[in-house]
Symmetry: C2
Subunit: 336 residues, 2 copies
């Protein structure tokens, strides 16, 4: 299969570009920073290293010499302006991603996922209205699917505070695009996995904590198990971001990412154990306090983005899991 | 025509009920406070009297002896808890309503329309989970209509920051209803008019500033003029709130209000001049800086609420305007 990566997002196109990545020490942000520094971009990373979020300086080890790290919090409005000047493309990945934390501390979720996003888009408008913005949103805003696969027309019905706020932030970007011409492209990510993900706990995804359990030789705890999910390899997500960023017809649009491979949680746990060569699992009833925010089966249609750009996810799930297990077998202590 | 008001919202049902009204010195809040104090409810009003919002102590003149006024701001979380204890029904009307202000100062809009609403719903959950909440939202969240009349299934596409935040707040109430059983009922109001509305400027509705122009003998300024709108008399809106508040099947629901009478802005201006007995108008092009947030024709379907409860708006537009002009002919200085 021919992928359009060579034309759209080849290394040459990125050489010398001024890139800013919020949440750049996090899972996806650091993978992007690593790739773009290989491509010769001038990358600045913003990260606040809030312990509950995904930032981890170890993630930037491979590109530490090429990347400029700016320790700051996007909730703080003034420091954003000098950082945004002269930026060609902003990859805006900073956020509070934990669904449970959004329920126990909704104000922090509001501040990081709404107030800080307003700061960002206002700062762009003020100092760099020609900037291009790739904004990472989440499938969480769809809630419990009314049909599968879920496409971008699916009704919005968040089952948690995090989803409400991420949707509000999407609307800021759409509004500023329509009113002020600030170019933004929104991706609604499904479960993204790969090296550098948070594994300390389930704050990014349950797969993180499963990886830790696997490496630490603790039984993987599966809640329910029949729920179907789709997963994207982080490198495929980075490909999607790079393709969109250089393709002006993607701005003003909202795209799902996703995968044609669907797998039940139980089958996933078994696959992880098999690829690890050892491990156990226990199946538990879905916890009562989380039942109301359980969304059942979920997988995305990424047809729209595919039609726009030719992107499809190219990494088989098995290969992603194998590579990720290998990474944490070697580096787990850096993530605890 | 028989209306269901006698059974649903008759005075007897309200006698002795503990009522809290946020934004209770504002236009709709004070009309509600006046009515409920006539019905023998024990009414407490919260208002911060922020000069740009709708609060005006003159609005509570008719019920000043019966109503307890608590001067405070719902953005301040701690003072809400003692006020919410033992309340039977909360009419939650406090908010930033100006579309233009939400664009020039989006953070204030976020704080009052989102952060403060989180405070409120969290405080209810903590000190009074059995409370019933009537929440005033706005047709603004629909944006430019895709079809008319606009019903509750119409896509959400706010054309300003205010609409984004009001929709997020709606979702808080829906989420807390679904997850925690906090009973709430959401009304999406169309243009509401009547005595006690803000007329100092167009922050609540353009009709306010037209009333002022009319009384001050300044030409009414009509932008465009062909746009159709519907209007509700504030007393009809109060009826709707009272009916819903005592009808448990309304909780967990979202209802449009609206009117079967539709009128163009130009025809409305002419009607106002006619009923005032004097006045002039000038027609101007829609201002360039507001064109992008112009929604064209708008009117609501209120069939859902009508089907649920039998409510229909009973006051003819002409009668509302006549009564309102009379009010401001007498009381304009109290509103400047």
């Amino acid at each position: 299969m021919t992928t359009p990566l060579a034309t759209h997002a080849g290394p040459e196109a990125w050489s010398g570009k001024q890139i800013l990545i919020t949440g750049g020490a996090g899972f996806i942000g650091s993978t992007l920073a690593t790739r773009l520094s290989q491509y010769g971009s001038k990358v600045t990373v913003i990260d606040s290293l809030v312990p509950e979020f995904g930032g981890n300086l170890f993630n930037l080890d491979a590109c530490a010499d090429q990347v400029r790290i700016n320790f700051s919090d996007i909730r703080e409005p003034f420091s954003l302006k000098p950082l945004l000047k002269n930026v060609d493309i902003l990859f805006n990945l900073a956020g509070q991603t934990s669904h449970m934390d959004s329920m126990t501390d909704p104000h922090t979720d509001l501040n990081i996922n709404c107030a800080a996003q307003l700061n960002l888009v206002e700062a762009c408008r003020s100092v760099n209205p020609d900037i291009r913005i790739i904004f990472a949103s989440t499938r969480q805003i769809y809630g419990r699917p009314e049909y599968l696969p879920v496409d971008e027309q699916h009704p919005i019905a968040p089952v948690d505070i995090n989803g409400i706020h991420k949707y509000a932030a999407e609307q800021y970007y759409q509004l500023y695009h329509n009113l002020y011409g600030i170019k933004s492209c929104i991706f609604r990510l499904t479960n993204t996995i790969g090296p550098r993900m948070r594994v300390k706990d389930a704050r990014q995804t349950f797969v993180g904590v499963w990886l830790r359990q696997l490496i630490e030789d603790v039984p993987i705890e599966v809640w329910g198990g029949n729920q179907l999910r789709d997963f994207n390899d982080v490198e495929d997500v980075v490909d999607a971001f790079l393709i969109a960023a250089l393709d002006d017809k993607c701005y003003g649009e909202i795209f799902n990412l996703g995968s044609h491979e669907k797998i039940s949680l139980l089958a996933l746990a078994k696959l992880m154990i098999q690829l690890n060569g050892a491990g156990e699992l226990v199946i538990r009833d879905y916890p009562q306090d989380r039942k109301k925010i359980d969304i059942g089966d979920y997988y995305s249609s990424y047809d729209k983005f595919s039609d726009f750009t030719g992107w499809t996810p190219t990494t088989p799930l098995e290969q992603t899991i194998e590579r990720t297990i290998g990474f944490y077998q070697e580096h787990l202590p850096a993530y605890l």
